[in-house]
Protein backbone atom coordinates (compact mmCIF):
# COMPACT_ATOMS: atom_id res chain seq x y z
CA UNK A 1 0.00 0.00 0.00
CA UNK A 2 2.72 2.40 0.95
CA UNK A 3 4.78 2.25 -2.28
CA UNK A 4 1.52 2.68 -4.20
CA UNK A 5 0.68 5.88 -2.35
CA UNK A 6 4.21 7.13 -2.48
CA UNK A 7 4.32 6.70 -6.25
CA UNK A 8 0.92 8.37 -6.53
CA UNK A 9 2.14 11.34 -4.51
CA UNK A 10 5.11 11.82 -6.77
CA UNK A 11 2.96 11.45 -9.88
CA UNK A 12 0.58 14.16 -8.67
CA UNK A 13 3.39 16.52 -7.74
CA UNK A 14 5.14 15.88 -11.04
CA UNK A 15 2.05 16.58 -13.14
CA UNK A 16 0.90 19.56 -11.11
CA UNK A 17 4.41 21.00 -10.87
CA UNK A 18 5.09 20.97 -14.57
CA UNK A 19 1.63 22.07 -15.62
CA UNK A 20 1.76 24.96 -13.13
CA UNK A 21 5.06 26.13 -14.57
CA UNK A 22 3.68 26.01 -18.10
CA UNK A 23 0.39 27.64 -17.04
CA UNK A 24 2.24 30.52 -15.39
CA UNK A 25 4.60 30.92 -18.34
CA UNK A 26 1.63 31.03 -20.73
CA UNK A 27 -1.04 32.66 -18.61
CA UNK A 28 1.02 35.57 -17.28
CA UNK A 29 1.75 37.17 -20.66
CA UNK A 30 -1.76 36.37 -21.85
CA UNK A 31 -3.36 38.01 -18.80
CA UNK A 32 -1.16 41.08 -19.10
CA UNK A 33 -1.97 41.29 -22.79
CA UNK A 34 -5.67 41.21 -21.94
CA UNK A 35 -5.17 44.31 -19.79
CA UNK A 36 -2.86 46.14 -22.19
CA UNK A 37 -5.00 45.64 -25.28
CA UNK A 38 -8.21 46.63 -23.52
CA UNK A 39 -9.88 49.98 -24.21
CA UNK A 40 -7.71 52.69 -22.71
CA UNK A 41 -4.81 50.29 -22.30
CA UNK A 42 -1.24 51.00 -23.33
CA UNK A 43 -1.49 48.76 -26.40
CA UNK A 44 -5.17 49.38 -27.05
CA UNK A 45 -6.34 46.98 -29.72
CA UNK A 46 -10.02 46.20 -29.40
CA UNK A 47 -9.98 43.41 -31.99
CA UNK A 48 -7.01 41.57 -30.46
CA UNK A 49 -8.59 41.98 -27.03
CA UNK A 50 -11.87 40.47 -28.21
CA UNK A 51 -10.12 37.55 -29.93
CA UNK A 52 -7.90 36.71 -26.94
CA UNK A 53 -10.86 37.11 -24.61
CA UNK A 54 -12.99 34.74 -26.67
CA UNK A 55 -10.26 32.09 -26.88
CA UNK A 56 -9.83 32.26 -23.12
CA UNK A 57 -13.58 31.97 -22.57
CA UNK A 58 -13.96 28.96 -24.87
CA UNK A 59 -10.97 27.20 -23.33
CA UNK A 60 -12.30 27.85 -19.85
CA UNK A 61 -15.80 26.60 -20.60
CA UNK A 62 -14.47 23.24 -21.79
CA UNK A 63 -14.85 20.48 -19.14
CA UNK A 64 -11.39 19.11 -18.40
CA UNK A 65 -12.20 15.52 -19.34
CA UNK A 66 -13.41 16.69 -22.78
CA UNK A 67 -10.37 18.90 -23.20
CA UNK A 68 -8.14 15.95 -22.51
CA UNK A 69 -9.78 13.90 -25.24
CA UNK A 70 -9.96 16.79 -27.68
CA UNK A 71 -6.26 17.49 -27.29
CA UNK A 72 -5.13 13.90 -27.83
CA UNK A 73 -3.55 14.39 -31.23
CA UNK A 74 -1.84 17.56 -30.05
CA UNK A 75 -0.58 15.70 -26.98
CA UNK A 76 0.85 12.95 -29.15
CA UNK A 77 2.58 15.55 -31.32
CA UNK A 78 4.16 17.21 -28.28
CA UNK A 79 5.10 14.21 -26.11
CA UNK A 80 4.95 11.33 -28.56
CA UNK A 81 2.35 9.51 -26.46
CA UNK A 82 -1.20 9.91 -25.22
CA UNK A 83 -0.84 7.96 -21.99
CA UNK A 84 1.19 8.45 -18.87
CA UNK A 85 2.24 11.39 -16.73
CA UNK A 86 3.83 13.41 -19.54
CA UNK A 87 0.72 13.03 -21.67
CA UNK A 88 -1.44 14.35 -18.83
CA UNK A 89 0.69 17.46 -18.39
CA UNK A 90 -0.29 18.81 -21.83
CA UNK A 91 -4.06 19.07 -21.26
CA UNK A 92 -3.55 20.10 -17.63
CA UNK A 93 -1.32 23.00 -18.67
CA UNK A 94 -3.52 24.03 -21.55
CA UNK A 95 -6.59 23.92 -19.34
CA UNK A 96 -4.87 26.01 -16.69
CA UNK A 97 -3.43 28.71 -18.98
CA UNK A 98 -6.74 30.55 -19.60
CA UNK A 99 -7.75 30.03 -15.97
CA UNK A 100 -4.54 31.62 -14.76
CA UNK A 101 -4.73 34.31 -17.45
CA UNK A 102 -8.07 35.56 -16.10
CA UNK A 103 -6.70 35.65 -12.57
CA UNK A 104 -3.67 37.58 -13.82
CA UNK A 105 -5.94 40.00 -15.64
CA UNK A 106 -7.90 40.74 -12.47
CA UNK A 107 -4.71 41.13 -10.43
CA UNK A 108 -3.02 43.46 -12.93
CA UNK A 109 -6.14 45.60 -13.31
CA UNK A 110 -5.91 46.39 -9.61
CA UNK A 111 -2.63 48.26 -10.13
CA UNK A 112 -3.15 52.01 -9.76
CA UNK A 113 -3.13 53.76 -13.15
CA UNK A 114 -1.22 56.64 -11.57
CA UNK A 115 1.84 54.41 -11.22
CA UNK A 116 1.74 53.66 -14.93
CA UNK A 117 1.48 57.35 -15.64
CA UNK A 118 4.41 58.09 -13.33
CA UNK A 119 6.65 55.64 -15.15
CA UNK A 120 5.56 57.03 -18.52
CA UNK A 121 6.41 60.51 -17.28
CA UNK A 122 9.91 59.24 -16.43
CA UNK A 123 10.35 58.15 -20.01
CA UNK A 124 9.53 54.48 -19.59
CA UNK A 125 8.07 52.47 -22.46
CA UNK A 126 5.36 49.82 -22.30
CA UNK A 127 7.83 47.05 -21.53
CA UNK A 128 9.23 49.10 -18.63
CA UNK A 129 5.70 49.59 -17.34
CA UNK A 130 5.09 45.83 -17.42
CA UNK A 131 8.42 44.95 -15.83
CA UNK A 132 8.72 47.69 -13.23
CA UNK A 133 5.10 48.38 -12.36
CA UNK A 134 2.45 45.90 -13.41
CA UNK A 135 4.21 42.68 -12.39
CA UNK A 136 5.99 43.78 -9.18
CA UNK A 137 3.02 45.78 -7.92
CA UNK A 138 0.60 42.91 -8.45
CA UNK A 139 3.04 40.24 -7.27
CA UNK A 140 1.22 39.40 -4.02
CA UNK A 141 -2.02 38.87 -6.01
CA UNK A 142 -0.14 36.92 -8.66
CA UNK A 143 1.24 34.60 -6.00
CA UNK A 144 -2.25 34.12 -4.60
CA UNK A 145 -3.52 33.39 -8.13
CA UNK A 146 -0.78 30.81 -8.59
CA UNK A 147 -1.82 29.12 -5.36
CA UNK A 148 -5.42 28.97 -6.58
CA UNK A 149 -4.23 27.53 -9.88
CA UNK A 150 -2.13 24.83 -8.18
CA UNK A 151 -5.07 23.79 -6.05
CA UNK A 152 -7.36 23.67 -9.10
CA UNK A 153 -4.74 21.62 -10.97
CA UNK A 154 -4.56 19.08 -8.15
CA UNK A 155 -8.31 18.70 -8.57
CA UNK A 156 -8.04 18.31 -12.35
CA UNK A 157 -5.19 15.85 -12.01
CA UNK A 158 -7.59 13.32 -10.48
CA UNK A 159 -9.06 12.93 -13.94
CA UNK A 160 -5.63 12.39 -15.43
CA UNK A 161 -5.94 8.81 -14.25
CA UNK A 162 -8.15 8.16 -17.26
CA UNK A 163 -5.07 8.45 -19.44
CA UNK A 164 -3.01 6.27 -17.13
CA UNK A 165 -1.09 9.09 -15.52
CA UNK A 166 -1.60 7.88 -11.98
CA UNK A 167 -1.63 10.29 -9.10
CA UNK A 168 -3.50 10.51 -5.81
CA UNK A 169 -6.87 11.24 -7.33
CA UNK A 170 -6.53 8.21 -9.56
CA UNK A 171 -5.84 5.98 -6.54
CA UNK A 172 -8.90 7.36 -4.77
CA UNK A 173 -11.09 6.62 -7.80
CA UNK A 174 -9.72 3.22 -8.81
CA UNK A 175 -8.96 1.65 -5.46
CA UNK A 176 -11.23 3.57 -3.17
CA UNK A 177 -14.32 4.10 -5.28
CA UNK A 178 -14.30 1.32 -7.85
CA UNK A 179 -12.89 -1.43 -5.59
CA UNK A 180 -14.63 -0.32 -2.40
CA UNK A 181 -11.35 0.02 -0.49
CA UNK A 182 -12.72 2.95 1.42
CA UNK A 183 -9.79 2.99 3.82
CA UNK A 184 -7.42 3.75 0.95
CA UNK A 185 -9.79 6.35 -0.39
CA UNK A 186 -9.89 8.20 2.90
CA UNK A 187 -6.14 8.04 3.19
CA UNK A 188 -5.66 9.61 -0.24
CA UNK A 189 -8.26 12.25 0.54
CA UNK A 190 -6.43 13.01 3.77
CA UNK A 191 -3.12 13.26 1.95
CA UNK A 192 -4.68 15.60 -0.62
CA UNK A 193 -6.15 17.72 2.15
CA UNK A 194 -2.74 18.01 3.81
CA UNK A 195 -0.98 18.79 0.51
CA UNK A 196 -3.51 21.46 -0.39
CA UNK A 197 -3.39 23.04 3.07
CA UNK A 198 0.37 23.18 2.96
CA UNK A 199 0.38 24.74 -0.52
CA UNK A 200 -2.30 27.25 0.46
CA UNK A 201 -0.46 28.22 3.62
CA UNK A 202 2.84 28.56 1.78
CA UNK A 203 1.16 30.67 -0.92
CA UNK A 204 -0.53 32.91 1.65
CA UNK A 205 2.72 33.34 3.52
CA UNK A 206 4.60 34.26 0.33
CA UNK A 207 1.93 36.72 -0.74
CA UNK A 208 1.83 38.33 2.69
CA UNK A 209 5.57 38.71 3.01
CA UNK A 210 5.64 40.49 -0.37
CA UNK A 211 2.96 42.91 0.69
CA UNK A 212 4.43 46.24 1.72
CA UNK A 213 1.19 48.11 2.06
CA UNK A 214 1.49 48.99 5.71
CA UNK A 215 0.22 46.99 8.65
CA UNK A 216 3.58 45.24 8.86
CA UNK A 217 4.43 46.56 12.25
CA UNK A 218 3.15 44.99 15.42
CA UNK A 219 0.50 47.13 17.11
CA UNK A 220 -2.58 46.33 15.01
CA UNK A 221 -2.85 42.55 15.61
CA UNK A 222 -1.85 43.00 19.25
CA UNK A 223 -4.65 45.49 19.72
CA UNK A 224 -7.12 43.06 18.20
CA UNK A 225 -5.94 40.36 20.56
CA UNK A 226 -6.35 42.71 23.47
CA UNK A 227 -9.89 43.58 22.41
CA UNK A 228 -10.78 39.92 22.04
CA UNK A 229 -9.61 39.07 25.55
CA UNK A 230 -11.43 41.97 27.11
CA UNK A 231 -14.56 40.95 25.23
CA UNK A 232 -14.41 37.39 26.52
CA UNK A 233 -13.66 38.51 30.06
CA UNK A 234 -16.75 40.71 29.87
CA UNK A 235 -18.97 37.87 28.74
CA UNK A 236 -17.57 35.64 31.47
Amino acid sequence: MQPLLEQACWDTLYMVGWSTLIAVAGGLPLGILLVLTDRGGLLQNVLANKVIGQIVNVARSMPFIILMVALMSFTRWVTGTTIGREAAIVPLAIGAIPFFARLVETAVREVDGGLVEAVQAMGGNTWTVVRKVLVPESLPSLIASTTTTIVALIGYSAMAGTVGAGGLGDIAIRYGFQRFESELMWITVAILAVVISVIQAAGDYAARSLHHRGGRSGPAPKLRLLKATTATSETV
Binding site: G114, Q120, G123, K132
Partner: protein, 345 residues
Protein backbone atom coordinates in the same frame (compact mmCIF):
# COMPACT_ATOMS: atom_id res chain seq x y z
CA UNK B 1 11.23 77.39 -20.88
CA UNK B 2 7.75 76.00 -21.45
CA UNK B 3 5.62 77.43 -24.20
CA UNK B 4 2.30 76.16 -25.39
CA UNK B 5 0.51 77.75 -28.28
CA UNK B 6 -3.04 77.17 -29.37
CA UNK B 7 -3.17 74.05 -27.23
CA UNK B 8 -6.50 72.29 -27.68
CA UNK B 9 -7.65 69.00 -26.25
CA UNK B 10 -10.98 67.49 -27.15
CA UNK B 11 -12.13 64.24 -25.56
CA UNK B 12 -14.51 62.12 -27.57
CA UNK B 13 -16.51 59.45 -25.89
CA UNK B 14 -19.65 57.79 -27.21
CA UNK B 15 -20.19 60.49 -29.79
CA UNK B 16 -20.02 63.30 -27.24
CA UNK B 17 -17.25 65.84 -27.39
CA UNK B 18 -15.79 67.55 -24.37
CA UNK B 19 -13.37 70.39 -24.90
CA UNK B 20 -10.91 70.31 -22.01
CA UNK B 21 -8.45 72.80 -23.45
CA UNK B 22 -9.54 75.54 -25.79
CA UNK B 23 -6.56 77.27 -27.36
CA UNK B 24 -4.24 77.67 -24.38
CA UNK B 25 -1.21 79.91 -24.80
CA UNK B 26 1.12 79.60 -21.87
CA UNK B 27 4.59 80.97 -21.43
CA UNK B 28 6.72 79.91 -18.50
CA UNK B 29 10.06 81.68 -18.19
CA UNK B 30 13.21 79.90 -17.20
CA UNK B 31 13.75 79.67 -13.44
CA UNK B 32 10.32 80.82 -12.35
CA UNK B 33 7.57 79.15 -10.41
CA UNK B 34 4.42 79.36 -12.47
CA UNK B 35 1.06 78.49 -10.99
CA UNK B 36 -2.04 77.60 -12.96
CA UNK B 37 -5.09 77.88 -10.78
CA UNK B 38 -8.67 76.95 -11.49
CA UNK B 39 -11.57 74.93 -10.23
CA UNK B 40 -11.82 71.25 -10.91
CA UNK B 41 -12.92 70.66 -14.47
CA UNK B 42 -11.28 73.86 -15.68
CA UNK B 43 -8.72 71.88 -17.67
CA UNK B 44 -5.65 72.25 -15.44
CA UNK B 45 -4.96 68.54 -15.33
CA UNK B 46 -5.25 68.18 -19.08
CA UNK B 47 -2.94 71.14 -19.50
CA UNK B 48 -0.13 69.77 -17.33
CA UNK B 49 -0.49 66.32 -18.93
CA UNK B 50 -0.22 67.87 -22.35
CA UNK B 51 3.07 69.51 -21.40
CA UNK B 52 4.90 66.16 -21.25
CA UNK B 53 2.44 64.64 -23.69
CA UNK B 54 0.97 62.10 -21.31
CA UNK B 55 -2.12 63.41 -23.08
CA UNK B 56 -1.89 64.05 -26.79
CA UNK B 57 -3.17 67.52 -27.58
CA UNK B 58 -5.78 67.58 -30.34
CA UNK B 59 -4.00 70.56 -31.85
CA UNK B 60 -1.41 73.15 -30.91
CA UNK B 61 2.23 72.83 -29.96
CA UNK B 62 4.22 72.34 -26.77
CA UNK B 63 7.82 73.46 -26.55
CA UNK B 64 9.94 72.60 -23.51
CA UNK B 65 13.54 73.85 -23.28
CA UNK B 66 13.50 74.75 -26.94
CA UNK B 67 12.36 71.32 -28.05
CA UNK B 68 9.04 70.94 -29.84
CA UNK B 69 7.57 67.90 -28.08
CA UNK B 70 4.49 67.74 -30.26
CA UNK B 71 6.76 67.18 -33.25
CA UNK B 72 8.45 64.26 -31.46
CA UNK B 73 5.22 62.58 -30.61
CA UNK B 74 4.58 60.92 -33.94
CA UNK B 75 1.18 59.71 -35.02
CA UNK B 76 0.57 56.57 -33.01
CA UNK B 77 -0.66 56.53 -29.43
CA UNK B 78 2.64 55.15 -28.17
CA UNK B 79 5.53 57.38 -27.22
CA UNK B 80 8.58 57.03 -29.43
CA UNK B 81 12.14 56.93 -28.22
CA UNK B 82 12.83 60.63 -28.62
CA UNK B 83 9.70 61.66 -26.77
CA UNK B 84 10.58 59.28 -23.95
CA UNK B 85 14.06 60.80 -23.77
CA UNK B 86 12.56 64.27 -23.61
CA UNK B 87 10.15 63.16 -20.86
CA UNK B 88 13.02 61.83 -18.77
CA UNK B 89 14.31 65.40 -18.62
CA UNK B 90 11.02 66.69 -17.23
CA UNK B 91 10.29 65.83 -13.61
CA UNK B 92 6.74 65.31 -12.47
CA UNK B 93 5.15 65.08 -9.04
CA UNK B 94 1.62 63.89 -8.45
CA UNK B 95 -1.22 64.58 -6.05
CA UNK B 96 -1.33 60.96 -4.92
CA UNK B 97 2.47 60.56 -4.98
CA UNK B 98 2.34 57.46 -7.22
CA UNK B 99 5.13 55.64 -5.44
CA UNK B 100 5.59 51.93 -6.05
CA UNK B 101 4.52 50.14 -2.89
CA UNK B 102 6.68 47.12 -3.76
CA UNK B 103 9.89 49.14 -3.66
CA UNK B 104 11.75 50.82 -0.86
CA UNK B 105 12.07 54.59 -0.80
CA UNK B 106 15.56 54.40 -2.26
CA UNK B 107 14.48 52.00 -5.02
CA UNK B 108 11.63 54.34 -5.89
CA UNK B 109 14.05 57.20 -6.36
CA UNK B 110 16.32 54.95 -8.43
CA UNK B 111 13.53 53.98 -10.81
CA UNK B 112 14.00 56.86 -13.29
CA UNK B 113 17.74 56.13 -13.29
CA UNK B 114 17.07 52.47 -14.07
CA UNK B 115 15.01 53.62 -17.02
CA UNK B 116 17.90 55.83 -18.11
CA UNK B 117 20.17 52.78 -17.91
CA UNK B 118 22.47 54.06 -15.15
CA UNK B 119 24.68 51.59 -13.29
CA UNK B 120 23.79 50.37 -9.81
CA UNK B 121 26.51 52.37 -8.09
CA UNK B 122 25.58 55.60 -9.82
CA UNK B 123 21.93 55.01 -9.02
CA UNK B 124 22.34 54.49 -5.32
CA UNK B 125 24.75 57.41 -4.97
CA UNK B 126 22.33 59.73 -6.74
CA UNK B 127 19.30 58.41 -4.85
CA UNK B 128 20.95 58.89 -1.46
CA UNK B 129 22.07 62.38 -2.43
CA UNK B 130 18.52 63.32 -3.44
CA UNK B 131 16.98 61.78 -0.34
CA UNK B 132 19.39 63.86 1.68
CA UNK B 133 18.34 66.94 -0.28
CA UNK B 134 14.67 66.40 0.58
CA UNK B 135 15.52 65.53 4.19
CA UNK B 136 14.73 61.83 4.15
CA UNK B 137 18.20 60.29 4.23
CA UNK B 138 17.19 58.06 7.16
CA UNK B 139 14.17 56.60 5.35
CA UNK B 140 16.01 55.07 2.38
CA UNK B 141 15.20 51.52 3.46
CA UNK B 142 11.58 52.14 4.44
CA UNK B 143 8.62 51.29 2.28
CA UNK B 144 6.24 54.05 1.15
CA UNK B 145 3.44 52.59 3.30
CA UNK B 146 5.50 53.40 6.39
CA UNK B 147 5.74 57.10 5.54
CA UNK B 148 3.41 60.03 6.19
CA UNK B 149 1.83 61.95 3.31
CA UNK B 150 4.39 64.73 3.45
CA UNK B 151 7.28 62.27 3.49
CA UNK B 152 5.78 60.42 0.52
CA UNK B 153 5.61 63.64 -1.44
CA UNK B 154 9.24 64.35 -0.55
CA UNK B 155 10.13 60.97 -2.01
CA UNK B 156 8.03 61.86 -5.06
CA UNK B 157 10.00 65.08 -5.44
CA UNK B 158 13.34 63.30 -5.01
CA UNK B 159 12.27 60.81 -7.66
CA UNK B 160 11.21 63.60 -10.02
CA UNK B 161 14.68 65.15 -9.66
CA UNK B 162 16.60 61.95 -10.33
CA UNK B 163 17.01 62.61 -14.04
CA UNK B 164 18.45 66.11 -13.37
CA UNK B 165 15.50 67.83 -14.99
CA UNK B 166 15.42 71.53 -15.80
CA UNK B 167 11.65 71.54 -15.53
CA UNK B 168 9.39 70.21 -12.79
CA UNK B 169 5.68 69.67 -13.32
CA UNK B 170 3.59 69.54 -10.20
CA UNK B 171 0.11 68.11 -10.49
CA UNK B 172 -1.73 69.27 -7.35
CA UNK B 173 1.27 68.12 -5.33
CA UNK B 174 -0.05 69.50 -2.05
CA UNK B 175 -3.77 68.93 -2.46
CA UNK B 176 -3.76 65.69 -0.48
CA UNK B 177 -1.77 67.17 2.38
CA UNK B 178 -2.69 69.06 5.54
CA UNK B 179 -1.91 72.81 5.75
CA UNK B 180 1.24 72.38 7.81
CA UNK B 181 2.71 69.76 5.47
CA UNK B 182 1.59 71.79 2.46
CA UNK B 183 3.69 74.69 3.70
CA UNK B 184 6.80 72.55 4.14
CA UNK B 185 6.42 70.94 0.71
CA UNK B 186 5.94 74.35 -0.91
CA UNK B 187 9.00 75.61 0.92
CA UNK B 188 10.95 72.65 -0.44
CA UNK B 189 9.77 73.37 -4.00
CA UNK B 190 10.75 77.01 -3.54
CA UNK B 191 14.20 76.04 -2.25
CA UNK B 192 14.75 73.65 -5.15
CA UNK B 193 13.66 76.33 -7.56
CA UNK B 194 16.27 78.69 -6.12
CA UNK B 195 19.09 76.21 -5.49
CA UNK B 196 18.88 74.26 -8.71
CA UNK B 197 17.43 76.94 -10.94
CA UNK B 198 14.53 74.60 -11.53
CA UNK B 199 11.60 75.89 -13.56
CA UNK B 200 8.39 74.79 -11.87
CA UNK B 201 4.97 74.62 -13.49
CA UNK B 202 2.34 73.74 -10.94
CA UNK B 203 -1.39 73.38 -11.08
CA UNK B 204 -3.50 73.81 -8.02
CA UNK B 205 -6.91 74.82 -6.83
CA UNK B 206 -5.52 76.43 -3.70
CA UNK B 207 -4.93 80.16 -3.86
CA UNK B 208 -2.48 79.89 -0.96
CA UNK B 209 -0.11 77.85 -3.10
CA UNK B 210 0.06 80.59 -5.70
CA UNK B 211 0.37 83.22 -3.01
CA UNK B 212 3.25 81.59 -1.21
CA UNK B 213 5.56 80.42 -3.98
CA UNK B 214 4.54 81.57 -7.45
CA UNK B 215 6.34 84.23 -9.45
CA UNK B 216 3.67 84.12 -12.11
CA UNK B 217 0.18 82.78 -12.27
CA UNK B 218 -2.62 82.04 -14.67
CA UNK B 219 -6.30 81.60 -14.02
CA UNK B 220 -8.09 78.89 -15.98
CA UNK B 221 -11.79 78.69 -16.63
CA UNK B 222 -13.54 76.23 -18.92
CA UNK B 223 -10.39 75.27 -20.80
CA UNK B 224 -9.15 78.80 -21.34
CA UNK B 225 -6.62 80.99 -19.65
CA UNK B 226 -8.55 84.03 -18.52
CA UNK B 227 -5.75 85.96 -16.85
CA UNK B 228 -2.04 85.49 -16.68
CA UNK B 229 1.10 87.37 -15.81
CA UNK B 230 3.63 87.86 -13.06
CA UNK B 231 2.08 88.29 -9.63
CA UNK B 232 3.16 91.94 -9.67
CA UNK B 233 1.47 92.56 -13.01
CA UNK B 234 -1.68 90.84 -11.87
CA UNK B 235 -1.90 92.92 -8.70
CA UNK B 236 -1.46 96.06 -10.78
CA UNK B 237 -4.27 95.09 -13.11
CA UNK B 238 -7.58 96.78 -12.40
CA UNK B 239 -10.37 94.25 -11.95
CA UNK B 240 -8.05 91.27 -11.95
CA UNK B 241 -9.93 88.32 -10.49
CA UNK B 242 -6.69 86.61 -9.57
CA UNK B 243 -5.41 89.68 -7.77
CA UNK B 244 -8.54 90.04 -5.66
CA UNK B 245 -8.55 86.32 -4.94
CA UNK B 246 -4.87 86.39 -4.03
CA UNK B 247 -5.41 89.30 -1.80
CA UNK B 248 -8.98 89.65 -0.65
CA UNK B 249 -10.27 92.51 1.46
CA UNK B 250 -13.67 92.24 3.01
CA UNK B 251 -16.38 94.72 3.94
CA UNK B 252 -19.81 95.64 2.63
CA UNK B 253 -21.23 99.09 1.92
CA UNK B 254 -23.08 100.43 4.98
CA UNK B 255 -25.90 101.95 2.90
CA UNK B 256 -27.10 102.12 -0.71
CA UNK B 257 -25.88 105.59 -1.48
CA UNK B 258 -22.25 104.88 -0.77
CA UNK B 259 -19.30 104.27 -3.04
CA UNK B 260 -16.97 101.45 -2.12
CA UNK B 261 -13.45 101.67 -3.46
CA UNK B 262 -10.58 99.18 -3.24
CA UNK B 263 -7.23 100.92 -3.04
CA UNK B 264 -4.10 98.90 -3.72
CA UNK B 265 -0.75 100.27 -2.66
CA UNK B 266 2.51 99.00 -3.90
CA UNK B 267 5.93 100.50 -4.36
CA UNK B 268 6.27 104.31 -3.85
CA UNK B 269 2.59 105.01 -3.35
CA UNK B 270 2.56 103.05 -0.14
CA UNK B 271 4.45 105.79 1.67
CA UNK B 272 2.05 108.66 0.82
CA UNK B 273 -0.57 109.73 3.36
CA UNK B 274 -3.26 109.67 0.65
CA UNK B 275 -6.33 108.94 2.73
CA UNK B 276 -5.92 111.92 5.03
CA UNK B 277 -5.04 114.13 2.05
CA UNK B 278 -8.21 112.99 0.31
CA UNK B 279 -10.27 113.68 3.39
CA UNK B 280 -8.82 117.18 3.86
CA UNK B 281 -8.82 118.20 0.22
CA UNK B 282 -12.44 117.29 -0.52
CA UNK B 283 -13.74 117.55 3.02
CA UNK B 284 -15.36 114.12 2.98
CA UNK B 285 -15.70 111.44 5.63
CA UNK B 286 -13.96 108.25 4.71
CA UNK B 287 -14.63 105.00 6.50
CA UNK B 288 -12.28 102.10 6.22
CA UNK B 289 -14.14 98.82 5.72
CA UNK B 290 -11.15 96.53 5.59
CA UNK B 291 -7.42 96.62 5.10
CA UNK B 292 -4.48 94.28 4.92
CA UNK B 293 -0.81 94.19 4.16
CA UNK B 294 0.70 91.02 2.81
CA UNK B 295 3.59 89.60 0.88
CA UNK B 296 2.52 88.15 -2.44
CA UNK B 297 5.15 86.62 -4.66
CA UNK B 298 7.84 88.42 -2.66
CA UNK B 299 6.17 91.83 -3.07
CA UNK B 300 4.88 93.96 -0.21
CA UNK B 301 1.35 94.90 -1.08
CA UNK B 302 -1.27 96.81 0.86
CA UNK B 303 -4.91 96.82 0.07
CA UNK B 304 -7.67 98.88 1.65
CA UNK B 305 -11.39 98.98 1.10
CA UNK B 306 -12.82 102.42 1.81
CA UNK B 307 -16.28 103.86 1.67
CA UNK B 308 -17.10 107.36 0.43
CA UNK B 309 -20.46 109.04 1.02
CA UNK B 310 -22.63 109.43 -2.07
CA UNK B 311 -22.94 107.48 -5.28
CA UNK B 312 -20.18 106.95 -7.83
CA UNK B 313 -21.33 109.98 -9.85
CA UNK B 314 -20.76 112.20 -6.81
CA UNK B 315 -17.28 110.84 -6.23
CA UNK B 316 -15.72 111.02 -9.67
CA UNK B 317 -13.38 113.82 -8.60
CA UNK B 318 -12.01 112.25 -5.39
CA UNK B 319 -11.53 108.94 -7.18
CA UNK B 320 -9.67 110.77 -9.91
CA UNK B 321 -7.48 112.29 -7.19
CA UNK B 322 -6.62 108.83 -5.85
CA UNK B 323 -5.74 107.62 -9.34
CA UNK B 324 -3.46 110.62 -9.80
CA UNK B 325 -1.50 109.54 -6.73
CA UNK B 326 -0.43 106.42 -8.59
CA UNK B 327 -2.72 104.13 -6.67
CA UNK B 328 -4.63 101.30 -8.19
CA UNK B 329 -8.32 101.94 -7.72
CA UNK B 330 -11.13 99.47 -8.20
CA UNK B 331 -14.62 100.84 -7.68
CA UNK B 332 -17.00 98.09 -6.66
CA UNK B 333 -19.97 97.65 -8.93
CA UNK B 334 -18.27 99.66 -11.68
CA UNK B 335 -16.81 97.85 -14.66
CA UNK B 336 -13.14 98.74 -14.92
CA UNK B 337 -12.11 100.05 -18.30
CA UNK B 338 -9.44 97.50 -19.03
CA UNK B 339 -11.18 94.39 -17.82
CA UNK B 340 -8.85 91.44 -18.04
CA UNK B 341 -7.40 92.39 -21.42
CA UNK B 342 -4.63 94.26 -19.66
CA UNK B 343 -3.64 91.20 -17.70
CA UNK B 344 -2.80 89.10 -20.69
CA UNK B 345 0.88 88.74 -21.20
Amino acid sequence: MITTSGLTKVYRSRGREVTALDGVDLHVREGEVYGVIGQSGAGKSSLIRCVNLLERPTSGTVTVAGQDLTALAGRGPRAGKELRRARSRIGMVFQHFNLLSSRTVQDNVELPLEILGKSGKERSAKALELLDLVGLADKARSYPAQLSGGQKQRVGIARALAGDPKVLLSDEATSALDPETTRSILQLLRDLNRQLGLTVLLITHEMDVVKSICDSAALMERGRIVESGTVGELLATPGSELASALFPVGGEASADDRTVVDVTFHGEAATQPVISQLSRTYNIDISILGAAIDTVGGLQVGRMRIELPGRYEDNVVPIGFLREQGLQIDVLGQEPVLLKEGARS
